[in-house]
Symmetry: D2
Subunit: 285 residues, 4 copies
C-alpha cells in the first residue's frame, strides 16, 4: 500500500517557490513522486501540489506540518493542506429519492475504483434504504420539515463528527443546506447540479433547458457554499440533445451526465487533486 | 444538378397528416427523396420536412405553392415554407474586426462545401476589407455611430434587397441590430454567440467564464430576435478548459468552437433543414 | 400504457414506397405516431420505420403481418420486422467477473429507464451471483471448459428458449460464442467491446491502446456475428486520455465509456430503433 | 516579448531529479515560470519540462546547454532539448490539393494565434499556389514522379536547410516521404491522418469507415516515421456520424476534425510542449 505525503500549497507568487519546496522534500530524503505547479498570471498567485514517498523521509509524519510551517510556509505567506495516502478518506453520502448517482457511486466503491470508506448514507426520505441495505451501509433517515431543520442539521453534524467524516457527497440530495452547515464543512461538501452552470441555476433545470431549446444539456459538480449553485466548480460535462427529446428524455439523458460528473469529482477529491481558491478550482490531474 | 422541392410544414397535430402530404406528392408523380416528421407531444404540434424530385411532377413549379395551399395547407391550419434546390441561396456576411469565422466560412465557400452565393460582405469597420478582396467579394463599409444607426440600417436593408439576400450571417459582428431590423429579417439572421447560452449572455462572455471558473466553454448559433441572445438556438458545442487557461486561452480555444458551430448552422440553413417554432428549432438532419 | 405497432422495413429503393406504407396505415385507421425513412444512395436501398397507434386500427393485431405481407411487402421485395409496444422485451444478461456494466444495467432496469423483463443472468463464473441476488434475478452458473463448450451452449439455448428471451446482452462476458450460437441468435446478441472498433480488436485492447500511445480510448456496442468484433456497430463513444494514464487508468476511464455505450445500445434495442443491414445499422432516433 | 528558456528532459527515473534541476535554475537566479514532470511507472522513466525567465539568469544564453550537460545532464544519463522563446520557429507547410487545413493554419498564422514564421509552402501540385499568393508566402512547386522522387527530396532538403526550417507540417500532403527523409527530420515532421489511428491506416480511410459502419470518425496528428501512420501520436479527436452520412458527408465532417487536430498539434509544437519518447508523446499542457 502506498505511503506518501501530499502538500497542496498556494500563496502570492514570488521567485524560488518551487525550488524551496522541492529542496525541503529532497534534503530530508523524500523521493518526489509527483509535482505539479501553476501560476495564475492574472492574479499573480502560485499553486503547487507535491507528493513524495515517506519511506526514508527523516521528519516523522506527525511533525511534517510543524516543520513545513516553521521552515517555509509561514515565512512565505503560504496556505496549505497536508494529506497522507495511508489515511482512507471517509465519505458520507446524502440522498433523497433518485437512485442513479447512488448506485453509480456504490458500484465504484464496491469494485475499489473509489478507495474510501462509506460509513453512512443519510437521507431525508426512506426510499433508498433498500439500496443501503443491499450494500451493507448504515442508513440514517433524517427527515427535514420547515420546523425541525435546524435541529436535524445539528443532529447531522453530530453524526458526521462521530463518524469522522472527511467529506460529504450530495448525490441528488434535494434539500438546501443552511449557511451555517455550509460554513461548517467548507470545501468538504460536493454537490451535483443537473445543468451546465451557470445556466439553469435552481430548481427544474431540465424543464428550463427544454423551454429554452438548448442543443446540449449538462451537469456540474461543485463545492457547496452558502450561495446556491455558486460554489467552486470541480467538473462539468454535457451531452447532445435534439428537438426529439422531451423533458423526460432530457432527464434520462441527463442522469448519465450527472453520474459521470459526480463520480469524476469524487475521484479527484479522493486523490487530493483539487485545490479550491476563491470561486475557482485548480485540478492537478 | 439536383432539382427537387422541399416543404417545411407545421400545424396542430391531427391524424392523417403524413398520409395526406405523401399522397399529394405521390399522386402527382413526385418521387419522395426524404421525409422526416416530428410530433411535439407536450405542445401537440406536428412538424414535417419532405423533399421530392421534380422530374415528372405534374404540377408546374410556380403553381406548387398555390395547389398545396388550396388542396391541403389551408384546410389543416398549416404553415409552411417551400424551397427549391435549384435556387442557390444568397448569403450576406456581416463582420467587424475578428477574422476567424469569416475565413472559415470563405474556405468552405471556396471549396463548395457551402453551396451558395455570397454577394457581399458588410462591415462597420475597414479591418477585414483585405480578406474580402482576397476572395473577390464586394465589401461594403457601413460604419455605425450613435447618430447614424437608423440611417445606416435603412441603407443596409436597401442593399440587402438590391442583392436579393436570402439570409444574413453575423460572423462576429459587434453591433446590436435594432428591433425593426430583426423583425424585417425574422428567421433570416444567424448569429454566433461566444458562450453556451443561456450562460453568459451579453458582452465579454469569456471573461465571465474565467471568473466563474467553468470547466467547459462553448458557442451558440441562433436566429436573431429583438431579445438579445434569446433567439431560437440552431447549434451549440463546447470544449474543455482548465485552470491553466487564462482569458486569452479561453478566447483562443473558443474561436475554434465558434467557427464550427457557426458553420454548422450555415450548413443546416443552406440545406433547408431548420424549422424554427416559437423559441425552439426543429433540425431535420 | 402505449399500444402501438412498429414496422421496420427495408427493400431496394423504388418510387412511391413511403406513400404506399403510410396509406396502408392511414386507410385502415391507424394514426401514425412516428415515421422515419432513409435511402442509401450508394446502395440504392430504402429503409423505413413507422409506428402507429393501434386504437381504432381495423386490422386485428394478429393479422397485421399477413395483411402487410400480402398487400405490400411481398410485392415490393420488402423485408420487415413487426413489433408491438405492448410486449415487454425479455433480455437475458451474460456476465463473467466485471460488475460495472451489470450494475449500470440493473440500476436502469430498477428505475424503469429500461422497460423490459430480465428473466435471468447467465455466467461462466460465480463471482457476480451476489449482485443477481441483490436484485432478485435468477442466476445461472454455466461454466465453460474446452471440453464442455458445445454441451453448455446447447443447455444455454434451451434455457433461453424456455425463458422466451428476446435478446441477449453480453455485459463483459469473456467467452467467445460458437458460430452456431451466433447464427441461432442473429441480431439478437449485443456485445460491448472495450475499444473504438475497428481499432484494437480482440484481447487486451487497453494494453494495446497504452502501447500505441493513443489520446482517445473508446468502446463499441455491436451485434455479435461469427466474425469476432466484426458485427454491425450500434453505438460508439470515446474519452480523452493522456500520457499520465497508465493501463490501469485506461481501464478505469474505459469502464465509464463501456457502461454508457452498452446501455445506449440496449435502450435503442428496447425502443425498436435499430435496423441492421449487412454490416451496418440504421438507427432511427 | 517573452525571453525564457525551456528544457525538455527525460532519463531513467532516480530520486532527486526534480530537486536537482530546480536547484540548477534557482541557484543561478532563474525564476521558474512553469514546471511539469511525469514518471512512467511501467517504464520507470522520468520526464520533465521546465521554463524559466532568462532575465537575471547568470549563465549566458549560449552557454546554458554546455553548463547543463556538464553539471547535470551527462551525469544522470539525461536526454534533453533546450529551447528559447525568443526564437520564432520556422514552419514549412507541405500541401497537395486539399485547401481546408492550409486555410485554417494560415488564418491562425495571420491572427498571431500561431507565433511562427512560414518561410515557404511546398507542393507537388500547382492547385493551391493562389492561396500562398493571397497570403504572400513563397510557393515552391516540386512535383514528384516515380522517376524523380529521390532527386526532388534532395532538392527539398536543400530548400529546407536554406530556409532554416525548424519543422514541417504535412497539411494533407499526399506523397509518402522516403525513409531517409523521415530520418533526416526525426520528430520534426507533423502529419494529419484522416482517421482515429490505429483504425483505418493508409489510403481512403473515410471509405473504409463508411463500409465498416462506424458511428464516429476521427483524425490523428502524429510525427512522421518510416512506418506509415505509425509515428508517435500528438493529438486526436472524433465527431459523431450516422447512417445518414454517406462517404461525401464523412469527408465533409472529417475536414473539420482534421483542421482542429492538426492545428492543435502545431500549437503544442510551437509552445514546446511535446516530448516524444519511443512511440508515445508526453504532452505538457
Amino acid at each position: 500500500m502506498s505511503n506518501s505525503a501530499i502538500l497542496l500549497i498556494h500563496c502570492p507568487d514570488q521567485p524560488g517557490l518551487v525550488a524551496l519546496v522541492t529542496e525541503f522534500v529532497h534534503k530530508n530524503r523524500g523521493n518526489i513522486l509527483n509535482l505539479d505547479q501553476h501560476v495564475d498570471r492574472d492574479l499573480n498567485h502560485f499553486f503547487m501540489r507535491i507528493e513524495w514517498d515517506l519511506a526514508g523521509f527523516i521528519i516523522p509524519r506527525e511533525k511534517i506540518n510543524d516543520y513545513f510551517a516553521t521552515l517555509i510556509g509561514n515565512a512565505h505567506g503560504m496556505k496549505w493542506q497536508l494529506k497522507f495516502t495511508e489515511h482512507k478518506p471517509r465519505m458520507v453520502l446524502f440522498v433523497s429519492k433518485a437512485s442513479h448517482c447512488l448506485y453509480d457511486i456504490l458500484q465504484r466503491y464496491g469494485t475499489e475504483e473509489f478507495n474510501c470508506d462509506i460509513p453512512a448514507i443519510v437521507s431525508n426520505h426512506e426510499h433508498l434504504r433498500y439500496i443501503a441495505e443491499r450494500f451493507d451501509i448504515p442508513f440514517h433517515y433524517l427527515p427535514i420539515t420547515a420546523v425541525n431543520k435546524a435541529e436535524q442539521e445539528a443532529r447531522t453534524i453530530a453524526l458526521l463528527e462521530e463518524l469522522e467524516a472527511d467529506f460529504i457527497v450530495l448525490a441528488r440530495y434535494m434539500q438546501i443546506l443552511s449557511d451555517d452547515f455550509c460554513q461548517h464543512f467548507q470545501h468538504r461538501i460536493i454537490n451535483i447540479h443537473h445543468s451546465f452552470l451557470p445556466a439553469f441555476k435552481g430548481a427544474r433545470p431540465y424543464h428550463s433547458a427544454f423551454e429554452r431549446g438548448v442543443k446540449l444539456i449538462g451537469a456540474t459538480s461543485h463545492y457547496v457554499t452558502a450561495d446556491l449553485d455558486e460554489g467552486p466548480i470541480i467538473a462539468q460535462d454535457v451531452e447532445r440533445v435534439s428537438h426529439r427529446d422531451g423533458t423526460e428524455d432530457l432527464q434520462r439523458i441527463g442522469k448519465d451526465v450527472e453520474k459521470r460528473v459526480l463520480s469524476r469529482a469524487i475521484y479527484l477529491q479522493l486523490q487530493h487533486l483539487i485545490l479550491p481558491f476563491g470561486n475557482r478550482t485548480i485540478i492537478f490531474h
